[in-house]
Symmetry: C2
Subunit: 369 residues, 2 copies
């Protein structure tokens, strides 16, 4: 599965796999795809360095990338404490009440919240970059808006391609003007932050808006047939995130959450502001229902919502409180019905792609070998 | 573009075009596709007979179909008057107020509302079928739920295939159990009634749920590349509705509405209950905003909402009141930027499909002719 972009990056298949887990990212790269490690959970630069060291040792010199969350606009002199102070007490009480209603235990004294919003803040993302540029990453992706100009320059100076996610053609044009190299067109059905335009419509619009810049199709892609569809729409590759959550290498550290993912149907996700303050697709739970309920206080804007719920989300995850337990995931969760290794999962993608190409050629009356 | 289903129907390309306009349906069939005439606007059986006579004369013996709206569950002894009586006065006042706010004139004395809900009622749909079975239609589609068992039998006795729209795999399985022959998997991005699952995810789910029954991909399809994507997902054909609205043969009878469609972007539609009481994608207007506004009275369930707004919609259309003027249409409206004939539109679809197949083969490293 070769495109101009996959050739440029030196990867066998134009399949980009986004994941917060180094073992998954490395396995995707070893399988012939392009593993992209999500950095948002790394608050300490040393932790990121440790995991990138591990990636280096486990990718056989094959290419991989890093995904950071960095806003293009810097808010000078505003730290976590100042932002915390902007959260209304009524919202804090709603968090306490909702947790109490479900009997969610407190964290132990002095125990840090595992899920932190700080990775979303520019100073943290920049310290991640200082670490990352010490490694031979081939692609730097930014999950939220165009990266700042100096970051783009710094990446280009090191021969690192810069990618950014877009949910609309307008958004994609903005990225192109900011000098980025690859647009990830992420449709409505995707897990995580999404707009309202479905992948089927979004990808060709973005290709037309920013061509000849390469576009990756994201959202609704979890099989070889869906990969073929994404490529038929004009993408130079596909970007998959959800599919890896139920691989055996994934480190969700929660049997209950894995079981929820395996049991969920395509209709069991919701695009909700509950997690970050911006619409992000995730498992629908009593937690998202509480935030989306018109009778409740509603969500706060980013980054307030993320700070507000950080500790609560950690507690829900730690104690595996099933009715509240969720994770960002796309509509393809309906097809994630068994735990399998990354290599097996990847092989099924390439086999499914070949089957889809065979099928399209039969329909088109082509004799293709 | 040949599949088992297209061969069975004797059509050159597995492209199904749904339209309320006989001239468009006939032109789709003549261009090598399968034209499907929407019957919901025909309240008088004679009008339908007249247009089917015209279709017969203008389709050169090539195949076409009919789309009706028929609920599987019959509500005995409930007519339009009984249903009208169920509409709250507050909702009627909201209609009057919203029209008055925009200065929408009254219809002339005795002038019938052009847009009628009665086509949605079973007795009307049955009288349409009595007419339709007198013509050599090859496919009978039902836009809302599975058709009643006796209708399926009647169609099968005449060698007519029965199709039904589905927005979920569960819905599709219900159709299969009801004995229908073709499932139209209609994704979130489609115009008209839709669910929340995007085409990219829905089509493979429905194929898996009802296979080997043939599935058509609907929603987000308005180019040859999107056709290739739909077929890659396992569909035996594609179902396009929105694209024909801006063809020169379309009889919208409203320059203002055509101009709105040509100007709209993919983000200018909304999935709203404003038109029928069930979620249907349409142009977002001040009319849909009024119904979707939490401060308003909200919509009524089907069929009450359709009856409630029928006259208002006719007045908005007749007087072309721009801020309120809309129509069901999918997210592909963003690509409908020029008026062209059906033949030219269709030829561009088949050319785009061939380009997409070429592209996929290059990516797959196939030598395909």
């Amino acid at each position: 599965m070769q495109t101009e972009l996959s050739k440029k990056l030196g990867v066998e298949h134009a399949v980009f796999g986004f994941t917060p887990f180094p073992a998954v990212a490395a396995a995707i790269t070893r399988a012939g795809g392009f593993g992209v490690l999500g950095a948002v959970r790394y608050t300490a630069p040393d932790d990121l360095a440790r995991d990138l060291d591990w990636m280096q040792e486990h990718t056989d010199g094959l290419p991989y990338g890093l995904d950071v969350v960095m806003p293009a606009q810097k808010v000078e002199g505003v730290g976590e404490a100042e932002i915390e102070a902007m959260i209304p007490e009524g919202h804090r009480q709603f968090v306490r009440d909702t947790l109490a209603k479900h009997g969610v235990p407190e964290l132990a004294e002095g125990e840090a919240s595992g899920w932190r919003i700080t990775g979303w803040m520019e100073q943290v993302a920049r310290s991640q970059l200082d670490v990352a540029f010490g490694y031979p990453i081939k692609l730097l992706a930014n999950a939220l808006g165009s990266p700042p100009a100096d970051v783009v320059r710094r990446a280009h100076d090191r021969g690192v391609l810069v990618a950014a996610l877009a949910g609309s053609a307008r958004h994609a044009r903005h990225h192109a003007e900011a000098g980025i190299d690859v647009v990830v067109a992420q449709g409505y059905e995707a897990g995580g932050h999404t707009g309202e335009i479905a992948t089927m419509v979004l990808v060709p619009e973005v290709v037309e808006a920013v061509g000849p810049l390469p576009v990756l199709a994201a959202g609704g892609i979890g099989s070889g047939e869906q990969i073929a569809a994404g490529l038929a729409l004009g993408a130079q590759g596909v970007w998959l995130g959800s599919l890896w959550l139920t691989t055996t290498e994934a480190e969700l550290h929660s049997r209950a959450l894995t079981d929820k993912l395996l049991a969920a149907g395509s209709g069991d996700t919701v695009r909700s502001r509950a997690l970050t303050g911006k619409p992000a697709r995730q498992l629908r739970t009593e937690w998202t229902d509480a935030w989306d309920d018109p009778a409740g206080p509603g969500t706060l804007p980013m980054p307030l919502q993320g700070l507000l719920v950080a500790e609560a989300v950690s507690r829900i995850q730690k104690y595996e409180v099933k009715p509240l337990l969720g994770t960002p995931v796309g509509q393809i969760v309906g097809k994630m019905t068994a735990e399998r290794g990354v290599q097996e999962t990847f092989d099924e993608l390439t086999r499914g792609f070949e089957r889809a190409v065979d099928r399209i050629n039969r329909i088109a009356g082509r004799d293709a070998r």
